[in-house]
């Protein structure tokens, strides 16, 4: 299992993502100006402030050469995980539905949140039990998930709402407490909280590992 973690100017969580993925497989960094996915089985678009968040978070990064390759990889069914800024990039790229808007509290907020696993049958949550709560950090200023109501209805019916903030933990004003969604095919997943920062007991929780373990299981054809 080989993960590729994108690195843009302004990324800041790519090394943590590489270390987290490295606990379940091999993980390499992929520079945004390159076009070679290096035979990776899964791609992670990491957190940070790609291109300084100019214009809108994720708006410029989606046009980088490497993202063009990632879009083609995703269209072919490849596993793509977007975390925080990576989620924003995937929404801007049209790989995921919806948009991330400024938090209703108007603050950059950094805190531990509990994530409820709504759909445990995606390639990103196979290792989780339905309804399981994962304790992971969240840290962002623009993480308010938005999509039109009728679209969210359809996404909920199709199992595309993968994780929600547990009651009381949705600090950013996201529609229906949504923390992470997948595409219709289920091979692209984005979430605002950071599973890659919760993989070592030293930092309080190892729940984030479940996401990476799930991806490894899915890539190796093991169904939970």
């Amino acid at each position: 299992m080989k993960f590729g973690v994108l690195r843009f100017p302004g990324s800041c969580d790519e090394v943590d993502a590489q270390l987290a993925a490295g606990r379940v497989g091999e993980a390499v960094l992929l520079w945004h100006r390159d076009r070679d996915l290096q035979g990776c089985d899964a791609i992670i678009v990491p957190g940070g402030f790609s291109y300084g968040d100019y214009l809108r978070a994720g708006a410029i990064a989606r046009f980088s050469p490497m993202m063009e390759e990632v879009i083609a990889f995703a269209r072919d069914g490849g596993l793509v995980l977007g975390i925080c800024n990576g989620f924003q990039v995937l929404c801007e790229a049209g790989l995921l539905p919806g948009a991330l808007l400024q938090n209703t509290n108007r603050r950059f907020t950094s805190r531990q949140v509990r994530l409820e696993v709504v759909n445990s049958e995606t390639p990103f949550t196979l290792a989780c039990a339905p309804g399981e709560l994962l304790s992971v950090p969240a840290k962002h200023g623009s993480g308010r998930y938005y999509a039109p109501d009728d679209q969210i209805d359809a996404m909920e019916a199709a199992g595309q709402v993968v994780v929600r903030y547990a009651p009381g933990d949705c600090f950013n004003g996201s529609a229906r407490d949504i923390a992470g969604v997948c595409n219709q095919a289920g091979n692209v997943f984005g979430l605002m909280p950071h599973p890659e920062h919760a993989v070592d007991p030293l930092t309080g929780s190892t729940d984030g590992l479940r996401i990476f373990e799930s991806m490894a299981m899915a890539a190796e054809g093991v169904r939970g």
Partner: protein, 81 residues
């Protein structure tokens, strides 16, 4: 040609910046202010103004959450979307 693009949050979408300004004005003694919305103003020099609409849809605005309006500053009428 000089072109101005105005980008606004779509109606019905909460604009936290607008709310903050709306709440700040009364503190300065300005009453009677409601529905403050904050957007973005982009000015560009373009050879072909016909391309600006596509620029807006692909990059300058996010059509899911923002409306945009294109104004041609050299006298011709603008278009809104």
């Amino acid at each position: 040609m000089r072109v101005r693009v105005l980008v606004r949050p779509k109606a019905g979408i909460l604009d936290p910046q607008g709310v903050a300004v709306e709440q700040a004005l009364p503190a300065l003694g300005f009453g009677g202010v409601t529905d403050v919305r904050i957007g973005r103003l982009i000015e560009l020099e373009v050879d072909d103004p016909a391309q600006v609409d596509e620029m807006c849809r692909k990059l300058l605005a996010n059509p899911l959450v923002e409306d945009y309006e294109v104004q041609l500053l050299d006298g011709a009428a603008g278009t809104a979307s």
